[in-house]
Symmetry: C3
Subunit: 490 residues, 3 copies
């Protein structure tokens, strides 16, 4: 190891220039050289949850709590997880105490952003060893210029600094977009979206830089509460009523075309299972009709979801939209929390996920189609070496997505490369795809991915398994060229 700098004082935050590199000095030195070739590459952010309106409006950010705490389910869940325990943050008993708004008017939520910020700062030690800590450190130090270690003592000082900072023009979304070096940013949009924000951005010359992604999940799960309403919205967006299964397919096709016209490159699908077994048209139509009457069974609903994944792939062969599949998460594990606070507050839990049999119908039909591409994600690490790398390593249509969600972290990203490369190589992976909700953490996430890949490649070089010129070229491919190539313009 190189000599470490003097320990920082307990009030300071610093960004170690060698952060996330392997500790062994020889490997670290190779990693540094490889990383130098990628550190300043543009950011290609082909999947995320930043809203187009943020860039369209280009207004100053809200207060620090609304920017960094309340909407980040990683933060919320960790602070909630300690409620009632010896390490509990005073005042935090549930997500509402961090500003998450309840749908139940009887449940109040904390509205004072300074108080929310104090709670987050008091809980800072809970994030030790987590990617949240890594991202926030990067965001505070290098985006927000606030190199103080959060704690109950420093909370107000940081808060005041951030409020002042967020008011500056260079902290507006578009200025940050430039400063972050983002070349292209994909948003995630419902199938019935008007895409008006995207169109407005395009009119301002931002059409190549902010593109939508077609996410029809609520339409493909006929047993979810709002499904009938979703179908109505789809018809409205597509410009003709949807009363039958053929009309439903047509409307989906129409909306996909509208997305393509607005610059979309991909669809995105979050299903509990990866099943893609198609139904015959009569059966699909029958289930659709039953669902409109709210009488489809759960088994029918599952079969229909699987069928629709197959249909989405078929449509991708026509229109060229890359299909992204994110299966295996049980949403809203605690249904009471969901009923009170809604989705995305930290109660989604991964489950064992089967891909080999599930994807077989889809891959037998389209796995060699020259226009089809599917990017597979997982939160079940066991499938990387067992299922996903072997599938991506043979089917031309398959690319292996970056490690996602709970796995978008230093050690999990390293394990991902170790698990998949030997079978799928580098070039059957998507390169880095972030999944960011927090706009300000986009650079931190790409920075981390580039560092982990540099460290992994450096180890291959140090172990005589790769030459350094090859490693450097590969690092550039993973950071930049592969994400560009995986999601081509249509």
């Amino acid at each position: 190891m190189t000599a470490r700098p003097d320990p920082t004082g307990p009030r300071e935050l610093r960004l170690d220039p060698d952060r996330a590199f392997p500790a062994e000095p020889g490997v670290r030195s190779i990693a540094r050289e490889i990383h130098a070739a990628t550190a300043d590459l543009p950011i290609v952010a082909m999947h995320g949850h930043v809203e187009a309106s943020l860039l369209r409006r280009d207004e100053p950010f809200d207060d620090p709590a609304r920017l960094l705490v309340t909407p980040d389910h990683y933060l919320v869940r960790m602070l909630v997880s300690q409620a009632g325990g010896a390490r509990a943050v005073p005042g935090v008993t549930g997500p509402h105490d961090l500003g998450v708004r309840s749908s139940d008017p009887a449940v109040s939520h904390e509205t004072d952003p300074r108080e929310i910020w104090r709670r987050f700062c008091a809980g800072w030690p809970l994030f030790r060893g987590t990617p949240t800590r890594f991202w926030l450190e990067h965001t505070l130090v290098s985006v927000l210029d606030s190199p103080l270690r959060p704690s109950a003592e420093t909370a107000d000082e940081i808060y005041d600094h951030l409020v002042e900072r967020l008011a500056k023009p260079e902290m507006r979304p578009r200025a940050l977009f430039e400063r972050f070096g983002i070349e292209i940013l994909s948003t995630t949009d419902p199938a019935h979206a008007s895409l008006s924000e995207h169109k407005a951005l395009a009119a301002e010359g931002w059409g190549e830089r902010v593109v939508p992604t077609f996410r029809p999940d609520p339409l493909l799960h006929v047993d979810r509460p709002g499904w009938v309403e979703q179908v109505r919205l789809l018809g409205e967006a597509a410009g003709s009523p949807v009363d039958t299964y053929p009309q439903y397919l047509d409307a989906l096709r129409t909306q996909r075309a509208a997305f393509v016209a607005a610059g979309a490159r991909a669809t995105d699908h979050g299903h509990l299972r990866a099943d893609t077994t198609p139904l015959d048209d009569v059966t699909a139509g029958r289930i659709f009709d039953a669902a409109l009457r709210r009488s489809a069974t759960r088994a029918e609903a599952e079969a229909f979801s699987a069928h629709m994944l197959f249909q989405m792939a078929a449509m991708s062969c026509e229109d060229g939209l890359v299909m992204q599949l994110h299966p295996g998460v049980l949403r809203d594990h605690d249904r009471q929390v969901h009923d009170r606070l809604g989705p995305d507050v930290g109660y989604d839990i991964p489950t064992p996920t089967e891909y080999v049999h599930g994807l077989r119908p889809l891959l037998e039909a389209f796995g060699h189609h020259p226009r089809f591409r599917v990017v597979l994600f997982t939160v079940d690490e066991t499938v990387f070496s067992r299922e996903l790398a072997p599938l991506a390593g043979v089917y031309p249509a398959v690319r292996l997505g970056a490690p996602w969600w709970f796995l978008d972290s230093p050690d999990a990203m390293r394990r991902y490369r170790e698990a998949v490369t030997e079978t799928a190589g580098f070039y059957n992976t998507s390169g880095f795809v972030d999944d960011t909700r927090a706009y300000c953490s986009i650079p931190a996430r790409h920075d981390l991915a580039r560092r982990i890949d540099a460290g992994y490649l450096a180890r291959l070089v140090a172990e005589g398994r790769l030459e350094q010129d090859e490693a450097t070229e590969t690092a550039v491919d993973l950071a930049y060229r592969l994400p560009r190539e995986t999601y081509p313009a249509l």
Copy 2:
């Protein structure tokens, strides 16, 4: 790496002062510093299989074989696994050759402790790379002062030394308790236990130091052979007959209260599945009645076990006993071995274990209860990152137990931290919980855990992911404060 000492002679055992630390000198040096802060902390042993009678009686230990070989299923299984092969230890064809007593009078077992000891010593090379080797080395060198490498040649010399050593007063259980620095030791006791040994210890002022744990497994599995007898014993212990399901619940409550009165802090549950689906009272009562008549079906028995886990959690909300759940082990894989030699002779095998759906009823009901805590263990490593860390990282009631049984080993403990920390952090884990049967190996196990945690934390520091002051504080928490806080006094 630091310069290594000259290789020991083939007859010596030595404890490397840097054992189990990462090899890279920079990381190792940080690990040493972190470890220095925990090495002398008291031992908090909140789960184990040492009998209270051992400390109550405080008599000299039996011979070396009965102390170290026969009761340790790790040792027995390894020596048996080579039977008949090229590396077989002469004379070992099954557990009975190592002193394990058969219930079948026709099967004799070895009764000469010196012969058993010789067999173990001859098999020493089989333990290379195992935690058994690590623990025994520690026990022989630092507890028993016998730094000779076991082998066929040294067996008698070691044996004679140990016999002499075990006769000394400083080797009695209570003297070792002090020397080991044990602050508190939990035993594991059947639900019908009279706890007389614990009460006797309390009368001698050891009540805070040796506490019972409520383990009702045989009562919750109505299809196990001895169940009816267990119910009878429960009624006897609780002081009123148990003929009905409500009486059964009452008796369990009564006994839990008796355990609480005797200082217990936890219950412990070993089930094949983690299912916690409750039944309605009528169904539960019906199955109970059928079981008393030995006519419950296997499906009913499984449903009843799941239901009773839910009931145990409900009772924990009342009385505050921490619930420990150890699912996923198929006991007695070879039923003939079980019929001849009984349980716990090495034939228990882990199986894939599902937690997300299984625990959902329990967590929806009690996951946010201010008085409820459940500590989840597993022997299926795949669930650490996929299921247990995400659950522990959001539900206030959940703590992730230390890696258990087959996973209580250097590399598995390191993998555990790598798999869970990024999602659950450190403070949703229990800190170290040993599962020791072998009294003399308690210090070795805590020593190893502290070293592995120091090494993991040192890596985070070396990779710029944590400051050293934070790492040191965390190490102390994992070794001492978290186990204390996880199992609070009632």
Copy 3:
């Protein structure tokens, strides 16, 4: 790290003398010392797919494409996986473009070996980080004396060099056998094989060096298309017609005896599941009869396969053939590809595999039989620590096979040792067993395994968990003694 040599030019291939060793200099130096003790040991190749006829004929090898590209499904699948993408190798749209012959006469395949070779060379970057790259580098540099980095530019130069080289007498199969230091090589042969090649080799004094392996898979899966024909061939080979289930068992026994007489030491079984539940004779006979009439159901066929694994184990207790079990691969995931190109072209995908319940009947019956040994393989890494190490760590009959197929790679081999050693030790593993189709890569595979084991053992030494004399002895055991002992001569 030691100083690295100057980077090679982009046209050179080199074999790093420290390849695949851990990068940390202290550990690497120990690894080097350990490896020195195994580097020159003879090769014991107890499982593979080299044909006996290759050595019997001892003719010069075909052209480079037919030697190295077309028959290697690792290469074919990787090149195919990029078809149509930005990194696609021009001209490669499917396996037929790499010379794989279609059963459909309408589908032509590439027949020009130089063109196939060019395609492979153009795709060289795709193999970065894969074991294929490692093996080929070794083969090109040290077997074929061609130290040029493959690329579109160097393809012809390498091709011409290889053609010249392959024509030399020292490149004939038997000369290479000596040069590689192979002590014994097992082939894989159908149950109905005449073993004439093996007999001819024996007549030339090669009987101890090239031995057959009994692989009855097509006979044990009654629902596979060619099953009836296989039964006919079995009867023919055994010398008496097979019309009934008892005749079928007898014929299998007869052929096993013929294999034993020809020097066989093992059977080999590739099943989708590890189920070994036996049937009663009447049921087995009934399914057999139905299968002969092509009317067995899929469930019956699966039950029969499981039953026959049990029968094979029973026969192994009689004749001493070691049973090798390779479950968990879904063959021919894309059935259209299979229909066009046949099996073994890269479309086999691992699936989750259950061993604990599946093997219970077999292990309860034969797990302690003094003459029975079963070697368990997997392509599902999750079972190493959860199921296979615990089973191998107690049942005398069980040995844990080397990491197989997709897992026969540097990082996966390291993970294997890390996952299994702490529970099963070293001596319940088989030592290294390659699974080579490519004759010239046999030394590369053994070289890699010895390096990875040396690195793993060196880490144990560096972490104070093993003395170096023990590590060196263990390395020799893993490379040589254990494979010899696992598959004893009968």
